[in-house]
Structures are given as structure tokens and as C-alpha cells.
Amino acid sequence: MNITRRQMLILLPAAAVAWEAVLAGTPEASSNYKMSDHWWGMLIDIPKCIGCGNCVRACQTENDVPDGYFRTWVERYHRSDWRMTNPGVITANPLIDPEVISPDGGKEGFPVATDESGKYFFVPKMCNHCADSPCTQVCPVGATFISPDGVVLVDQKYCLGCAYCVQACPYGCRYIHPKKEVADKCTLCYHRITQGLTTACCEACPTGARQLVDLKDPKDPIHEFLKTHSVQVLKPQMATGAKLFYNDLDGSVR
């Protein structure tokens, strides 16, 4: 291709303008999504969870979570009859009650339980998207933050991988990504909820034990649910403002 000097002089400024557009970076989240209209959280209905592990697998697929690391996982609790009838009694090994298991995060389900005694239940866990989150407070570089719509996110271009936040999270919901070497955690499927979809774990849950809730939406059924059910958050004494609401949560869950 032959380009004359005149053509070159015209093309160069045009290329410069185009390059500016390239450098301007990625566009904001979809334009008809207003962050100020939402305040996201999640409802977990313990009596509905069957421990199938669909949510764990869906999360791994959706978010390319490396094997052995979890943005969400499921724990199975077993409380013995003796413990439930003798609360507060100190035993030789108080740690065995409740018995908690989570083989590979519950990804492939749980071993069949044959012991009919006591009380079993499944507790799906994930980031609590705290409104006053300890993990964002300790970040020395401003790489993790609570977005204006109430989601705790990590800016992986800014993160140094110092892991302060991993230690600060009282719920153990963060890890250092083995390949990227930066903090990684549940984004509440931010790429989905900003497009009007629900999270991958909610989409894949067969029993509706997980429900994405928008606390700023007056029509969201969560408001009625919170009035009529016994709903708790994990570690309320830490005043994290957790927005992961558990229905019918047993007192032994930590």
C-alpha cells in the first residue's frame, strides 16, 4: 500500500484520536443500571438446603474459580442429642460438637448420613457483603471496597496480594488466587446482577434455598420475609453489617 505524505499527515491525528479512545478503557456497567437504586444482599433458607453442591459447582464455572478454592461452599452440621439437651456443659472435647464437614467445599455433595440421632443441617457460606466490612478497612492501597450498591469487590489491577484482607475477614471468605496472586472473592456475580440476571449460585440452586435480594427494591419479597421469619446473620456481635441473611439458623453455627 502506498501512502503519500499528505495522506500520512491526515491519518496520524486520526490514529491519535482513536488511540485515546482505546486508552480510555472499559465502559461503565450497563448504562441503564443505576448503582444508587440497589442495595444487594442474599437470603439463605437453611431448611430448604439439601447439600447437593450445585451452587459450588455453578460458582466455579461462572467465575473460573481454581480447584481447591471457594467463593462459596457448603458445610454440614451435626448436633448430637446429648449436646442439645445439655447446652453449656463443658466436656473433655467440646470441639466435636457440632461436627462440621465440608468435603471439597461440598462441591460433589456429602457422604450419606446414617446416624438418625441429633440434628443435621446444611449451611451454605459465602461473602457476607458486609455494609461495614472489616476486609475493606484493612486494605492499604484501596484495592477492595464496598460499591455504592452494597457489593464488596476487589480491584485486581490495584491489589498487591498482601493478604491483610484474607486475615481480616471474620467469615473466611477470601483467598489469594494461586495464578493471579491477588485477593479473590465472591463478587455477588456483579457482572450478572448489573445486567438484571440473578447470581450463578441462585440460578443453579434447585430448591430456592438461595435468593438474591435487593434491599432498596420495595417490591422485593425479602421485606415481608424478614418480618415473618426468624432471620439471623453470622457473627452479629462483630457489627459487620452482614447482608447474608440466614433463615432458621442454629445457634451453633459460627
Binding site: 472499559t26 464455572t61 448420613a113 446414617t114 484501596g142 469487590l153 457482572h191 450478572r192
Partner: protein
């Protein structure tokens, strides 16, 4: 009396401070990202970047746009509230990265100055090209058992069976049609 007599060294220092401050402002202008502080002590543009991640679960509305017959059948049965992708898996699947041809000399030179981001592996889209891309048929022996295998740990009201006793190894699909599992709803398709 001239108070500024013998004060030249102070002015030189003050000048240095002003100069250093100007240098600081210039460096800061280039080093701090434009969107830092837009919403708080973080880079506002990060939210857009996180939101750009490609979704793999398309949502049941996407499936039902074409498969309305299945959606109708499903809405009448006990699996009405189970979303399509809970059993069939994500609609979009990640493929391994295809082998890239060696880039030409110019591209390799540019890559020295601006290292390119590794390309995202392509997504397989059944919704866009239904004839060539078919999702895998789930194996009912694994799929049904995952939820319905009897265990003392499961909620009492949830339908559960011991697979060996229940069917003697006969596949679930022989009697139950998964989209509407009740046997009187038609059994196997």
C-alpha cells in the same frame, strides 16, 4: 531594620519546597488513575471492569425463549422451580484456548512495548448456533442421585430414595420424565 536581611537561605529552601510540591503534583496527576476517588478511596472504573466478566449461566429466560414446550411441561410438575441450568449446566461453556499462529514481526515489536492481555478463551454458545453446539445430555444416574439420594442429613420433607432399593439399577429415566417427574405425568419420553 530589614527583617529579610540574611534570609536568602530560607527563600532558597522555600523555593525548593515549592518546586518539590509542583513535581509531586505533576507525578501524582500521571500516577493516580483518573477514576480514583470517584466514589470513594478506590478506582471507580474497577466496577465496570468487574461487570465486564462474561456470564456463562444465561438464565432460564434465555432457554425458555426457544424451548417453550419444555417450560410448559416443567411448570406443571414438581420441578417447576428448578432452573434449566441447575441440571443441564451453564449454557455458555469455556473452551480451551485455540492454538494461536505466531504473530508477525510488527505485532511482536508492539507486544514488547504494550504487553497484550492474554486472550479470554472462547465461549461455546448453544443459544446462538443451536445446530452445531449441543449441550451434553446429563447422566440421570448421577444427576438425580445428587439431590434425591436418601440421607439423614437432608430435610425430612424432601423426596429421597435409596437408589439401589428404589430401582434395582434401572435408570431413573425409565419411569420418571425429569421435566415432570411424577409417574402419572407420562413416564419416560
Amino acid at each position: 531594620m530589614n527583617v529579610f536581611k540574611d534570609a536568602g537561605h530560607l527563600f532558597r529552601f522555600a523555593g525548593l519546597f515549592v518546586l518539590a510540591f509542583l513535581v509531586f503534583l505533576v507525578v501524582r496527576h500521571y500516577v493516580v488513575p483518573k477514576s480514583f476517588g470517584e466514589y470513594g478511596h478506590y478506582r471507580g472504573a474497577a466496577m465496570g471492569e468487574i461487570a465486564d466478566h462474561a456470564a456463562k449461566f444465561a438464565g432460564h429466560d434465555t432457554c425458555e425463549a426457544c424451548h417453550s414446550d419444555v417450560a410448559d411441561k416443567k411448570s406443571k410438575g414438581k420441578h417447576a422451580h428448578v432452573n434449566c441450568e441447575a441440571c443441564h449446566g451453564a449454557l455458555f461453556q469455556r473452551l480451551p484456548n485455540p492454538e494461536q499462529p505466531r504473530p508477525n514481526l510488527y505485532k511482536r515489536f508492539v507486544a514488547l512495548i504494550i504487553p497484550p492481555a492474554p486472550p479470554d478463551p472462547p465461549l461455546l454458545r448453544h443459544a446462538e448456533d443451536p445446530s452445531s453446539v449441543k449441550p451434553e445430555m446429563p447422566d440421570t444416574a448421577v444427576l438425580c442421585a445428587r439431590c434425591h439420594t436418601a440421607s439423614a442429613a437432608k430435610p425430612k420433607g424432601f423426596p429421597q430414595v435409596v437408589p439401589a432399593d428404589h430401582s434395582n439399577g434401572v435408570p431413573c429415566l425409565t419411569c420418571h420424565q425429569p421435566h415432570n417427574p411424577a409417574i402419572d405425568a407420562g413416564g419416560a419420553k
